[in-house]
Symmetry: C2
Subunit: 208 residues, 2 copies
DNA sequence: TAGCGTCTAACACTTTGATGTGATTTTGTG
DNA sequence: CACAAAATCACATCAAAGTGTTAGACGCTA
């Protein structure tokens, strides 16, 4: 079975080069190519390709928008972004929109072919610098642990209830202590974190 | 300049195979190998390798713990997890502990070598199924957009202030409207989201 | 134009949250 | 043991948040 590919790329040169690159391979078949998002959004639902290569910046709309609209209709189809942009906003927007892979435009032809096979086999092909940025996103969230260190076990426990939206009296009965004790703990938590409201405390500790 | 590598892997067979694999390559040099985390944590700070390949499950401790301790001391060193585990918990724990790459044990030798070069050049080598899981993690967070849809523009704006811990009066003056209007909007937001407190609303929309 | 949704605003009222000041008991470490 | 840190509880007070109800102004559209 050959893999059905579609292309969304406004640059004629790049698009045609890639189309013929795909068709040079036995098990790849380029079923359609578009130079603007609108056409793609209209035509692709009927074509149901396995993989779509999508450029981000195009006159006539964003490729990310196209993915956002198409992915819910074509959940089986894998979208790979193919872009010159490497900034966090574009990367994360693309992924939350439903892209499964992200390649920078400098990717050599053989790596593009490899990526298509990879995404078709359940992987997430990603240029190395892109992957690094995604990983970095996880690592910034660890400051949380550091803030928590200054809180006692009991205080952390209460903070946890706070994060779940529990009212003081609910925390008190869940922890089998008086509501006054809950107040005291929370007062101490706020003091340590240098905040003065539940939301501020949560943002400071779990805060993005 | 050759890349200085260290290995942390309890299985003697695998460890020795990899060490000799590395040393077969001109520009790679394996400077140390350990069969338990403790020794590694003590010795590595002095060796300052460029790349460390780390197994997760070992008698004597977790490789993830070792990374958590070592990464702050060796920020320049890149840690690649090398494990049979592919569950989300291990993957995300490893990344937040400071790992930059994650390879499954079935990775062929030439891909391991490639990964070491990749991580050394600023990339994040990742087995395809691992990458897919990381990407999937982003996509689950998009339910947020769905919840937001039912809120009007003005309501979303206010919800945003709420998430930042603003008090009603602060929101009112920031948006140049009366505090009573702020109340009304928030009442409507809570109604739509079926909640009855700030924290519940935030959890429902931006919810972890 | 009549109706719908949105944004705006007000008033009254109850509940919850935050803060100040105090105290007793338990637990762990030098 | 003695001291410190942590956990427990109390009372008082004010600020903030949440709830019920009502209503005018605007824009869109069936």
């Amino acid at each position: 079975m050959s893999i059905q590919i579609a292309m969304l790329e406004d640059n004629d040169g790049i698009r045609n080069t890639l189309v013929s690159l795909f068709n040079k391979h036995e098990n790849l078949h380029c079923v359609a190519d578009f130079d603007n998002p609108n056409e793609a959004v209209r035509a692709l639902p009927r074509l149901k390709p396995d993989v779509v290569l999508v450029d981000i910046h195009m006159p006539g709309g964003s490729g990310i928008e196209a993915i956002r609209q198409l992915k819910p209709i074509l959940p089986e189809t894998q979208f790979i972004v193919f872009s010159v942009f490497e900034d966090n906003d574009n990367i994360f927007d693309a992924l939350t929109a439903g892209a499964t892979g992200y390649l920078v435009k400098s990717t050599p032809p053989d790596k593009i072919i490899e990526a298509i096979h990879e995404v078709h086999q359940g992987g997430s092909p990603m240029s190395s610098r892109i992957a690094r940025k995604i990983v970095a996103n996880f690592q910034t969230k660890k400051s949380e642990a550091k803030q928590l260190e200054i809180l006692t076990a009991r205080e952390q426990e209460i903070l946890n209830y706070l994060s779940k939206g529990f009212r003081y009296k609910e925390i008190a009965s869940s922890m089998f202590i008086s509501i006054e004790t809950v107040r005291t703990h929370i007062r101490n938590i706020y003091e340590k974190l240098q905040v003065s409201s539940r939301t501020d405390a949560l943002n400071k500790v779990f805060g993005k």
